[in-house]
């Protein structure tokens, strides 16, 4: 389908956007992020089941980078990251030209074809295949079979464990971490110019990948995502050690929703959960 290409080409020709963050096929026939700057570049733009990356992660590097709008191709799940960044005052809606795509699911494993067994879990609980808002909309949405939510089963299993068993489970998982920080780099919500692990006076988190340093890093990262994670599952996809990172962030999302009735990235006007408070927040745990 050429519609997406057409929209992007027009946007660049008519200068509705000064460039467009999109996907193209690289020379190894892999779908990869790509920045189209000219109408000719737009010829290469594609969208398919392999378009896994959340392109909102590229915004911070274009902060104050010039006049004109930034174009971006977004799936419905990625749009939540855009919304969340607007809520957190990282970017303005008016500075964006949003090209929404109707999504029909993306793969879990990019080395394999899209199939029922190879669909990301996030697609299971995706609320809208069509992005809730956009400047242009492309692609047709196709029905696809929902994958099993095997993460929910694991979550329920962990919740049933005793706290010592849970600690054992997570220690074993975190021990695998090699401190590559891929989870942070790929996350659209991890935009700090200086991450806490890079702060050395004082050194809050051990930089070496020892059990203790890994433990602290993973807890703190998960906490920084609490009520902020929009569930794109990019961290877990990027983690070379297959640590179930989204289990933590999803759990924190569930807490944000049960304790505060809040879901991040769902409203352009609602203030972010962290940074605000209510005098009626629960305090039954405070003596």
């Amino acid at each position: 389908m050429n519609e997406l290409k057409q929209i992007c080409k027009e946007a660049l020709t008519e200068k509705k956007a000064r460039f467009i963050i999109a996907y193209r096929e690289d020379k190894n026939k892999k779908t990869k992020p790509f920045i189209a700057r000219t109408p000719e570049d737009a010829e290469q733009i594609i969208f398919n089941h392999q378009a896994v990356n959340n392109l909102a992660v590229y915004f911070p590097r274009f902060k104050n980078s010039g006049e004109g709008k930034i174009g971006i191709v977004v799936k419905s799940c990625d749009l939540k990251a855009v919304t969340a960044l607007i809520q957190e005052n990282q970017i303005k809606r008016d500075d964006l030209f949003i090209i929404g795509v109707n999504c029909s699911g993306v793969v879990r494993d990019t080395t394999m074809e899209f199939s029922n067994d190879n669909t990301q879990i996030k697609c299971k609980y995706c609320q809208a295949k069509t992005p809730p808002y956009y400047d242009e909309l492309a692609e047709e949405s196709k029905e696809f079979e929902m994958p099993d939510d095997d993460q929910a089963e694991l979550m329920a299993r962990i919740e049933k464990m005793s706290s010592d068993e849970r600690l054992e489970f997570w220690s074993a998982e975190f021990e695998k971490c090699i401190k590559c920080y891929a989870c942070r780099q790929v996350c659209p919500m991890c935009y700090c110019e200086k991450c806490i692990v890079e702060k050395s006076e004082p050194q809050w988190i051990d930089t070496s990948s020892t059990a203790r340093g890994n433990f602290s890093w993973n807890i703190i990262r998960a906490f920084h995502m609490a009520g902020r994670c929009i569930g794109c599952h990019e961290c877990e996809r990027a983690c070379p050690m297959d640590i179930p990172l989204t289990l933590l962030t999803r759990k924190m999302g569930m807490v944000a929703s049960s304790e505060f009735g809040y879901r991040h990235g769902m409203s352009l006007t609602e203030p972010a959960l962290i940074g605000t408070y209510s005098t009626s927040d629960k305090e039954d745990f405070i003596k």
């Binding site: 706290s163 806490i196 745990f285």
Partner: protein, 156 residues
């Protein structure tokens, strides 16, 4: 005879209420167990959860956080911001396996010396019953650098 386990408790307290309350407990000569080490911060809003992690890394068996009652914050809203953060952090630690027997919260005002003593004693008892934080101590051990006083830092 088996030795009684004496837990190490790190208490982060705000300058304006709880620290003053603890001071009052002292000047009133109230008796209190000696396991808690107080760290005074300007406001509970200043307590980044990474402090709590740091306390565990440095050998704490339990952590207590205490500040002004809601509405009494010296900076008006520091404790409200803190409370929201605690709800999230407490749930996270619980999911990871550090339950509420190791992490305690309280509001203690400058006049509540007695309440402070009761809370500290209660926290110490709870942590003592739970036992030493073995899992963290194991992680700490792994990265200990053997130090020879004469030779300086030596490789194992």
């Amino acid at each position: 005879m088996e030795e009684k386990f004496e837990p190490k408790i790190v208490a982060f307290v705000c300058n304006w209420c709880t620290y003053t309350g603890a001071d009052l407990a002292g000047t009133s000569r109230l008796k209190q167990e000696a396991n808690a080490r107080l760290i005074r911060v300007p406001c509970t809003g200043r307590i980044d959860p990474v402090f709590i992690i740091k306390a565990f890394e440095n050998g704490a068996d339990g952590v207590l956080i205490s500040g002004c009652h809601p509405g009494d914050c010296h900076y008006n809203a520091g404790n409200f911001h803190a409370r929201r953060r605690w709800i999230l952090f407490k749930n996270l630690l619980d999911f990871i396996g550090i339950d509420s027997s190791r992490l305690h919260f309280s509001w203690v005002s400058a006049s509540e010396g007695k309440k402070w003593v009761d809370i500290v004693d209660d926290v110490i008892d709870t942590v003592r019953a739970k036992g030493p934080f073995k899992q963290y101590k194991k992680m700490n051990k792994e990265i200990e650098i053997p130090v020879d006083v004469e030779e300086g830092v030596s490789a194992k």
